[in-house]
Symmetry: D2
Subunit: 306 residues, 4 copies
């Protein structure tokens, strides 16, 4: 599908299991085909997008399509288990499925324990785990992987009200999204959030003639944010923080060492995921410290709802 | 100095440079002796403390002693530079010193760039970078290192209003603290916060006969928090999150897999430091999700100011 | 090109710079296009190869095509420098090119220093850095990356006399190779070996109906070898060693704990590369400890030259 | 005990379990006190040793004192298991003990499987896992930890015929050694080698007025070797290789970039341990490439037996 810059797109996404996990008795290893995990909506061909441009994606709304979401454990996947990469001699942890009732009106999702009657309501906070463009160098990457093209970053910051900036690698950018989460903890510890299909309204726009965007950046009304996706986790941190230093230099005219200092005293650093093939860290700085600098040509202010 | 459990202690700490860095022309490598970096106040011998007990340290107030703080870069130290461990062939980054005016009444510290006239006020948010007890196994560790005994964790969560829980390894616990920061970003990117001497009021108390505290834990009015200190950074994450899973099990009676799931959807995970000899990650869960469970015998509620 | 199992293939490969670096004044960043680095020969479609099979690749001979090879530094690439992933604020290290005279008859390559008259002959030990099949899950990966499909593992063990076993992911396996090295140190420290075009004779064969080969394995007359490619480097170690434990179990009938013990006392563990997008570690065990077990249906013995 | 430089010392060391593990039914967690694991022989006060000097330790002979050695698994310790740092939700792997018959005359140790009748002889190759001096900065470190003072490096290179060079941090150096291994694989995968008490003859000597030795170095008749101990494992690699580059510069007069290149093509990089609190990597270069440079004032040649 081809879209013009500035277009408002109303779309929807399947959940990461393509809808195959419906009840606590559905186990991922039994009902899902690993080749078709995390289906994406797209790609959208953005007219006029060329390598070196920056694609802006502003999320107007992200709304669960159904009254339930699911989370699971998956054998040899997650941050507190041996995995195919952190290879060990342990048996996999038990495979389980949790079902969350989603009450969109009340703004809550209900956690329901499997082994005891414990129930507790958690705030609904819908987001997309996977948001990206086509990678560089002709690669085709699994939607389970995050990188400099975006992809499966799994940060709760990717919520309605946020604008995501992605560097364009190929003509048309080839934007796609998916992996809706009704909510997610920072780190996505067990590897799976509260997964659900989403109705999403977003605006796609294009920034041309500006410095390139080497790693995905985000902006909301309060913060600018950078991301880094790599292993080990300190490299994800290093990418996010060096990108924040670089961006602050561009926005304020500060020298590199002065920006390093300012970032050191002001950055917030929420971990995004420690489970995917690369781990993701977000670095955030309040825009008040930028003293009125114009971020990305003022794109966020134009795309956000009035 | 020997203190009885329940005692309110009014003390003070030197800054991490022992007061030797006073102006932008003072460079750490010229004015400091590496053997005497990060001096601590203590140790305090806590009467009755025995291995297996948990020491509770509640911070009533942490107040800068002077009207200025300093930050610096230090050759081969920090997260965006080659170091003695992440050894590379680069020359060290430039060594610089920044001086911050601290206005305690207004609650701000003033960032003042070195290479351009940029100035901006940041919120004052005083904390202690180094809080700990004597390590186990007869080790004597540098105050530059964090670990399961606490030490140089460098988390901004260690502020007034927070209670820190430390497992006791030796008779008397041998508590010490230092490394006051007027404020600090998450990650302490360049390796040095806004360093200053502090006047600190704290209460020390003892929890006996409860499950041990293998890694430092924190509690404030809203959150329980765990910490992990290790390299690579994902191991610090794994420690903090597995400790949070374990603690939630203790507090709620949830099974391990159910607690893993609840933590996965609710944890906040701010990075503490990615610069010290071990890196530190904090995992936080709102106490509302614990449904009224009593944390550490209600210690935080008793020690906080009425 | 389509080949039948058992076929002897005589082929050649370009060097990793596609021949564009010829003298000490040719710098990679000036003469090479990053999209066309590390060109491969292939893919070869192996008749009858299906997912789950194992492809055997025996190297009969690997011979430099020319009388010189080159090595270089590349900005922000290598193990003792900041990189795009281990992101730092340093300027890149200097970009340099070294030219090695190759004397195939004498079996030496000549190191010639750039900044002083130091010269020394090193043993010629030709190998292929990149050997692989098509990845699983429909991915298309850069030839700069190693993984469970093989690829840019950069181990000096991939020399004439060695058989490489690769798990087949797609019909026909789609085998390719390239990145010839006249020799290479373990770790490929600066990121670039003594690069040269190669004339290579190899035999391709197929193992069906045996346990799958989840990560590339190698065999020569003395050793069985496993590989792991991941970051951080300990995960590459964990993969290689857990694969060796698993393989020893298959070959000897030892229990998992007994094989873990035997591997612990007998494995050699040469690092392959600490520079590529994933790092590679090799684990080796002498076949004498296997007490005559038949490895991969005796494939190596059949494919090696009599 | 005080020794003069040049003294030949005949001593002995206990095994790492202080002799408490004697049969396959002795489990470490039942028979050992963690506070007394890995007892060392020493410290030896070396007369005249001052900070900045280098201590040379040449091993004349290392001989098992008894006809058996033991190896074990230890709960939450080892490279293919969750640990206290790589914290996970798995149950610990089974705890087991293997007993090896040592035949010093035949030069073999006999591996005897626990769960099947598999037996195989392995070459005897005695070494010391722990060799070190007192750390800097007033620290007291557990003998389970390696670092720039040496300590529990667990490299098979520490065998008879090797000279180990250690930078002196305190007056008298305070040398100690222990943790004898009848043999060990590279990586010490399960965390425990073939442990035994040793009779050891060594020579201690002192190098004054030379460049300092920031990390332990080794030399045998063929190779110079550097070590790095850190986490993640790539940092241990980076330390070892940057130390090798630095040492080659000192020995040959090559520029830093030229030495980086020579190391890249010639280094061997056997992993030492991936189990201790820091991991250790060794980098080796054949002395023939040094073109006759004199290493450490010719110390190795003087200390080795004629």
């Amino acid at each position: 599908m081809s879209v013009r810059p500035g277009t408002v797109v109303s779309t929807w996404t399947m959940d990461c299991f393509a809808g195959r996990v419906r009840s606590t008795s559905d186990l991922v290893s039994e009902v899902c085909d690993p080749r078709f995990l995390n289906p994406q909506t797209g790609p959208f061909y953005v007219e006029g997008a060329e390598p070196g441009d920056t694609l802006a994606v502003h999320f107007r709304s992200i709304t669960p399509r159904e009254a339930q979401g699911v989370s699971t454990t998956v054998p040899l996947f997650g941050s507190l288990t041996a995995t195919h990469f952190t290879a060990m001699l342990h048996e996999p942890l038990p495979e389980r499925t949790w079902v969350y009732a989603i009450d969109t009106a009340a703004g809550v999702v209900r956690y329901d324990a499997l082994d005891s009657p414990y129930q507790v309501d958690l705030p609904l906070d819908p987001m997309h785990g996977t948001v990206g463009v086509a990678p560089a160098l002709g690669e085709v990457r699994s939607s389970l992987t995050p990188g400099d093209w975006g992809g499966n970053m799994d940060t709760p910051e990717m919520r309605a009200g946020t604008t995501c900036y992605l560097g364009v690698n190929v003509e048309g950018a080839m934007f796609s999204l998916g992996d809706g989460h009704a909510r997610q903890g920072e780190g996505e510890t067990c590897g799976v959030a509260v997964e659900c299909a989403m109705d999403t309204v977003l605006v796609l726009d294009l920034i041309k003639g500006a410095p390139p965007t080497p790693w995905p950046r985000l902006e909301d009304d309060v913060f600018i944010m950078t991301t880094g996706s790599a292993r080990p986790l300190e490299d994800a941190f290093r990418i996010a923080h060096s990108e924040l230093v670089r961006w602050v230099c561009e926005l304020t005219g500060l020298s590199s060492m002065d920006a390093y200092q300012l970032v050191s005293q002001t950055a917030l650093t929420p971990v995004a995921n420690v489970v995917d093939t690369s781990y993701t860290v977000v670095a955030k700085m309040a825009k008040t410290y930028l003293k009125g600098a114009t971020v990305m040509s003022g794109m966020h202010g134009r795309l956000r709802e009035p």
